[in-house]
Symmetry: C3
Subunit: 181 residues, 3 copies
């Protein structure tokens, strides 16, 4: 009956048989044994990301700081990230060269017209608001990432981006849900 949020490595005190298996390809060797006994676990947390200027931002380190202790308790599962806003987005992209972030922002501004030439009806909240809604649906507001052996199982060059589409940004909330065993 641990009170902490941490995952207990102690065996569940009565025999249970949640069947589980992690098979491996020739490339990645995932050592979970078949037939291992574990119960499904859930963890959920709302994280607040401080206001970021308009543009695309790598937030992997920030996100990991919030969840890595919990993550380490999952051998296999899924991590879900849900941004509770309609004028920003979450996407997975390059984690190395920040020019990729700048170029993506350039693309978004090119593809979604803003200002006098734009055909929008919804303008009460400023010229950047309707474009922000469109960009949010283009990239989406949620991500699901596999968990493998206590870590987010992303590729070498993948990172989590928060894309802020408003000029005068506010803090943004992300509901993070971990599920696995």
């Amino acid at each position: 009956m641990e009170a902490s949020f941490g995952f207990s490595s102690k065996p569940v005190s009565v025999p249970i048989r949640v069947k589980s298996h992690l098979s491996s390809s020739s490339v990645t060797n995932l050592p979970l044994k078949p037939g291992e006994s574990m119960a499904a676990k859930w963890a959920q947390k709302t994280v607040v990301i401080p206001a970021h200027r308009r543009g695309c931002h790598l937030i992997t380190p920030k996100v990991l700081r919030e969840i890595e202790q919990d993550l380490s308790g999952f051998q296999c599962g899924l991590a879900h990230f849900f941004l509770q806003h309609t004028s920003a987005s979450l996407t997975i992209n390059e984690n190395y060269d920040s020019d990729v972030q700048a170029d993506t922002e350039t693309f978004l501004n090119k593809i979604v017209p803003e200002g006098r030439s734009a055909p929008w009806r919804h303008t009460l909240e400023g010229p950047d608001d309707m474009p922000a809604h469109i960009k949010s649906s283009m990239f989406g507001c949620s991500l699901t990432i596999p968990i493998t052996e206590g870590r987010l199982n992303m590729g070498t060059w993948q990172g989590i981006w928060l894309c802020e589409h408003r000029d005068h940004a506010t803090p943004r909330k992300i509901v993070i849900t971990l599920n696995g065993m």
Copy 2:
């Protein structure tokens, strides 16, 4: 003690401890107690949405009517919505000003050419069909939304949109899967 990955239909027959916890950030206080013992639950349902005219439509109330009784049984989990079509899409966006829906439809029509000037090979099903396929991949056909204390944990202004990309729409099927505890 099966070693295989196979699925056993035999009922679990010993007490199990499904560890579960819902931690809270400084902003949102989610009162699930740590160490609570609960088993994972699944629910799945196919919902038919009557034909909507071409454009973006807020369907949150309709969807909630179909699932809220089941939803209320989940303290923590994920709700997955899967549109079984390739010429419509699901997205999350503004739930208040319907101009946002109209402007988004304007954007989609601007970005994806249709009619004589369009370069498409796939034209047998009408001039609006190939653009519909493209829009479907741009916005996507599925959504995953966190469940917290029996409710979809969306932001204040977020709603579920069905975007119908065909001129002569038909009813659309959504497979809804709830998973949690």
Copy 3:
């Protein structure tokens, strides 16, 4: 031993009932009985897709060959596909007429500028690299598909596409996670 789908807050202390329910709409009859007792299961596997030329490719058969044996053990659940790359994407679209794939590639190339006229800073990895990153965020790198009675519950015309956005492609890794009961 509740037969209803409701949530019990009492600690589980007796042979457990992993409550599960698969309700049906008037359209699809999904025969899982409510109250059936099953434990949650997880399976995870990394699959390598051989290099495909630039463009959109239907990979449903390839993916199914890798997972169908495991899939058949799930009555109800979710299948998650995660591409570990930032210059390719996964999407769901038409599985029949390959012109739809060709037209989608035409659209992507039209919408994301490439070569001398493109405004990108990130050019070190070739003129097709920055456009590839943008396309990857437009379509996304992951999919979640419902599992119903041992099969991916997609619509009649839906298929899984791997969209390769690089000119000189390499094999691509997909982490597949199955979760259900």
